[in-house]
Symmetry: C2
Subunit: 204 residues, 2 copies
């Protein structure tokens, strides 16, 4: 955390995070410079340096901001008054296709997330935010599974292992979409989830 | 491809790839310098520059070398005279725990792979090698599935979707191992694969 990071006013913080995120999506992690970020930011460049010592500090902060934003979007899509199956399928829909919110560019978000994640094992701040984002989504799936098992809609599976697996499987399908085969990745991913995973999870 | 890359003698190539790989595992993609690579390489630094114009060229080459090496190791472990189920389980074993070969450091390999993969959408040479490594493994799983369905050991699933899914799911479990929760990632991953995926794939 940068020296003066905690003192940043809320409105400046939002503006800076959003500018950094746009610059990151455009240039990619490797090529992003403080100059690129400043070009997206309406205020002065020294103001960035006052709050964030380095590009790494600022990127750590923007990643936490991204994760917070995604959690809110995800919760809004999934936490509805449906049955456990409907909620699980809503989770799969939003995980694979993104939320309905047109402001949220699902693939830009996950492409940036992929770049952060590959640095998690070498950057403690990023690692913590990655783990937090995992935990949040997995907890959400876990609750859906528990409700569904209690209601008799799902078989009695290992809830923790299944929640992790559903999260990881949808994540892996997204990674395939980003790297290759955009067209078929989502279609085949859904087919396999339906034929294999949901078929053995649903109790009838 | 570097200007003189194709002229590199085989022994020098092996030595340079192996030195670059060791340096990459130690320093990570972001921090790796040509100096770090030269420090692992017995021959002169100008020799590296003669064959590879930039660090990016050399890293592209080392990634292709890594992928070739992994394919050989994978094939040796899986292509045995077992039944389709035994071959599929051998694939899952080697994907999650690595090959028996003590020379091959499974987790160092996949940590490096993770760093390459996050650059695939911005680097065409890396993207091609990523896709090749996917394709190789998926073809191997596809053959096992086809044999198993023909032999009546597996249900009649969508072979292509299932092969991709099995590859992606094991890969996702490995990523979880690298980023977090080393202990439980493999255990829970196996539980979910057994309870959900294999349970609905096996025909009895």
């Amino acid at each position: 955390m940068g020296q003066n990071e905690t003192e940043i006013p809320e409105a400046t913080y939002e503006m800076l995070m959003s500018a950094t995120y746009r610059a990151l999506c455009e240039h990619g992690y490797d090529d992003l410079t403080m100059r690129d970020i400043a070009a997206e930011f309406d205020k002065s460049r020294p103001l960035i340096h006052y709050h964030y010592e380095s590009k790494e500090d600022l990127l750590g902060a923007v990643f936490e901001w991204m994760v917070d934003r995604y959690e809110a979007v995800m919760l809004e899509e999934v936490d509805q008054d449906g049955s456990p199956r409907e909620m699980l399928e809503a989770f799969i829909d939003v995980a694979l296709e993104g939320p309905a919110d047109p402001e949220f560019d699902h693939w830009a978000f996950f492409t940036a997330l992929l770049e952060f994640r590959s640095r998690a094992h070498r950057n403690e701040r990023i690692r913590r935010a990655v783990v937090e984002s995992y935990t949040y989504t997995i907890d959400l799936i876990r609750e859906i599974l528990e409700t569904g098992i209690e209601a008799g809609e799902f078989r009695e599976v290992d809830v923790d292992a299944t929640a992790h697996f559903l999260f990881l499987a949808t994540d892996a399908i997204r990674i395939r979409y980003i790297i290759n085969d955009a067209e078929t990745a989502l279609l085949q991913g859904r087919t396999a989830l339906d034929e294999l995973v949901l078929a053995s999870l649903y109790s009838d």
